[in-house]
Amino acid sequence: MSENGKTPLLKRGFFTNPKVVPYIFIAPFLIFFLVIYLYPFITTILMSFQKIDGPNSVEFIGTKNYEKMFNRNFKQALMTTFRYAFWDVVVLTIVPLIFAVILNSGSVKFPSFFKSLYFIPALTSTIVVGIVFRLAFGTLETAPANRLLALFGQPAKDWLMFADTGNFVLILLTLWRWMGVNIIYYISGLQSIPSELYEAAKIDGANSVQQFFHISLPGIKPVLIYVITITVLGGFAMFTESVALWAQNNPGGVGRTIVGYMYLMGFYKNNMGMASAVGLVLLGLVLAVNLIQLFAMGFFKKED
């Protein structure tokens, strides 16, 4: 019997010690973090200074991996990634926002139908979509995209063989696939804005453009920051889409992103040391871009 007359559920011991218990509760996360994130991260840093030829032949080679990294392939991959990430952010922030505002304005019939229609592509497999896009934007004059060009009297294009048209196809694929997801984010943001604000604005004589820039946009700022952040991350980490369109090929330097280059180094050329170095450079780049963007958008400012 304890002082208050009730029997404690557990005897007082090490595992019920109030100083220990919190650590037990966070242990699953902590173990997961240490084993799945921190350990590989540290190993990657170590590996980036090594030449790894197999299980029993590992050799420290200083910064040689980093020195050898900046060749034409890497620069092309960097260019491809930045080009893609830039257009990805521009297109995937603006286009879904326009659609979301229209869908949310109440002027469209059956908004739920359109919402699900735009969302369906996100459920498809990238590889399947890649094959469809690869054939739609094929070399021959009979390819659907070239047929469309012919309607406007334009000559057939070899879409996937050049950096600018190839990037266009890539952005189109991404837009088609992910637009629905961003629309959902935006709509949920838009719906959290109280309708009184719009009514008040109407009474004050604001037109719909003014309403958008002065009520809607500030109202969804947190959502906007979130969407841009994940789009930047997604843009830099893009890999599957380019593989689906070009496999391991890199015509005109468009088919290979930094992640693709890392994969090529690690698995195709079996050079894990170099792949680790590329991975760390990619980490640095993404971190820098994301921090700049978050600072610029005032994410770290204290809320007033």
Binding site: P55, T139, D158, M161, Q248, N250, G252, R256
Partner: protein, 426 residues
């Protein structure tokens, strides 16, 4: 008394156990095999059934797992690096093979099964999978490069493909074909190596020496690229639709009779039978045209080295079965009958067994091997060092693209690619 009975019963029990185990079916030995080429399993299954049908052989059970190309090689890399989960037998693609010959080699050497047969085999195929005098892989085919001619188009232009002896003849014939039919003579790949590498190799060139000296900017490479460019310039050659001869677009375009010929390794036979059925009876195979300034009759391209993993529990039995499946007369004949490959055993060429009808003879004609026999004596080695994957990547993505799509100067392309390869060598 009871005690005695109990002892007798116990003895009887053990005795009967012993008898039943002696008569019981022996447990089959279980092996796993990974491949990225589903076609190969047809041969393996056939040879496994034959092996098990022979009562002298220990019973085998082979679990054949087919993975996509990239997945399989990734899994293998990781399995060998960590020493966990590797199969007993594995098909490794020729371009990737050098990756597994680095450092402490995790594959078993196959000298004891290859060497006794070496007088009967095309040994240059084994050098691709060898290091320091040890063989680590067995190929299924020679992969001799040949040319497929669309006789319908050539007849329309009034050309007999048998008169084409040199690449210059080929180019001249192309001009006539273009003029009379408006169709190109051939296609060059713009994102793969099956156009450039065979021509360079047949001409006497290669990308690397065994000591990893770069040969990519030698005159022979520049001359070969210049020849290819000259055909592109006058329209007798065009960029391959879809970028390589394995794209769906190319199959459809070629099948519709849009091009007079294509040069590919022998294993491309089944691409015609499977993907271009409308050309049946129209396509004829012939040796590659020769270079007037030297070189060889053909080049050996592509391949798969089947290897045994050193850490397997059953290395010896795996080797023995592999030898039976791929190095025996029967295995080599089946390589042709089932897979349509040019077998690595010289004995089978001209044998009666090889003349059994199959879909390839139906599609082309039965003179395929008479043609092939004339070129087998002059096929150069290819040099596949640990930097070959890097070289192949440069050829596919830069040399081919810059030449066929970019239309650049051959010498400049060769020098730029060579520099890049030198830079990649550590």
């Amino acid at each position: 008394m009871k005690k005695l009975l109990a002892i007798i019963l116990v003895i009887a029990m053990f005795a009967s156990l012993g008898i039943t185990t002696a008569f019981a079916e022996e447990e089959p030995i279980h092996l796993t095999l990974w491949t990225f080429q589903e076609l190969h399993t047809q041969l393996y299954k056939e040879m496994l059934d034959k092996w098990n049908a022979n009562p002298d052989n220990p019973k085998l059970e082979i679990d054949m797992q087919v993975y996509p190309y990239e997945d399989m090689h990734n899994k293998l890399t990781i399995a060998l690096q960590t020493g966990e989960g590797a199969p007993d037998i594995v098909d490794i693609e020729i371009n990737m093979f050098a990756n597994y010959l680095k450092g402490d080699i995790q594959l078993a050497d196959l000298n004891d099964i290859v060497e006794p047969m070496q007088d009967h085999l095309v040994m240059s195929r084994f050098n691709n999978y060898a290091k320091d005098g040890k063989y680590y892989g067995i190929d299924h085919h020679i992969g001799a490069c040949i040319v497929w001619y669309n006789t319908e188009i050539l007849e329309e232009a009034g050309i007999d493909y048998r008169d084409i002896k040199t690449w210059d003849d080929y180019h001249e014939a192309g001009k006539v074909v273009l003029e009379k039919t408006g169709k190109p003579m051939c296609t060059w790949e713009s994102k793969d190596c099956w156009s450039i590498y065979p021509l360079v190799n047949q001409h006497g060139g290669d990308w690397l020496t065994p000591d990893n000296e770069v040969r990519m900017d030698e005159q022979v490479v520049i001359d070969t690229l210049a020849f290819m460019k000259s055909m592109l310039d006058d329209g007798t050659a065009v960029a391959c639709p879809g970028g390589n001869h394995h794209s769906e677009e190319y199959y459809g375009w070629m099948n519709a009779g849009n091009c007079a010929s294509v040069s590919m390794p022998f294993w491309y036979l089944n691409r015609f039978t499977d993907y271009m059925p409308d050309l049946a009876g129209k396509m004829k195979v012939a040796p590659m045209p020769l270079w007037s300034d030297g070189g060889h009759k053909s080049a050996q391209m592509g391949g798969t080295g089947t290897a045994v993993v050193k850490t397997s529990e059953h290395v010896d039995i795996a080797k023995e079965w592999l030898a039976y499946a791929t190095l025996s007369f029967e295995g080599c004949v089946n390589t042709w009958l089932i897979l349509g490959f040019d077998p690595i055993m010289t004995d089978v060429y001209g044998s009666e067994e090889m003349k059994a009808p199959n879909k390839f003879f139906d599609y082309y004609d039965d003179t395929i091997f008479d043609m092939l026999k004339t070129i087998l004596d002059d096929i150069p080695d290819t040099c596949l060092t640990e930097y070959f994957p890097a070289a192949a990547d440069i050829v596919r993505n830069e040399m081919a693209y810059d030449l066929v799509i970019g239309g650049g100067d051959p010498a400049e392309i060769a020098h730029a690619c060579a520099e890049e390869l030198r830079d990649a060598i550590m």
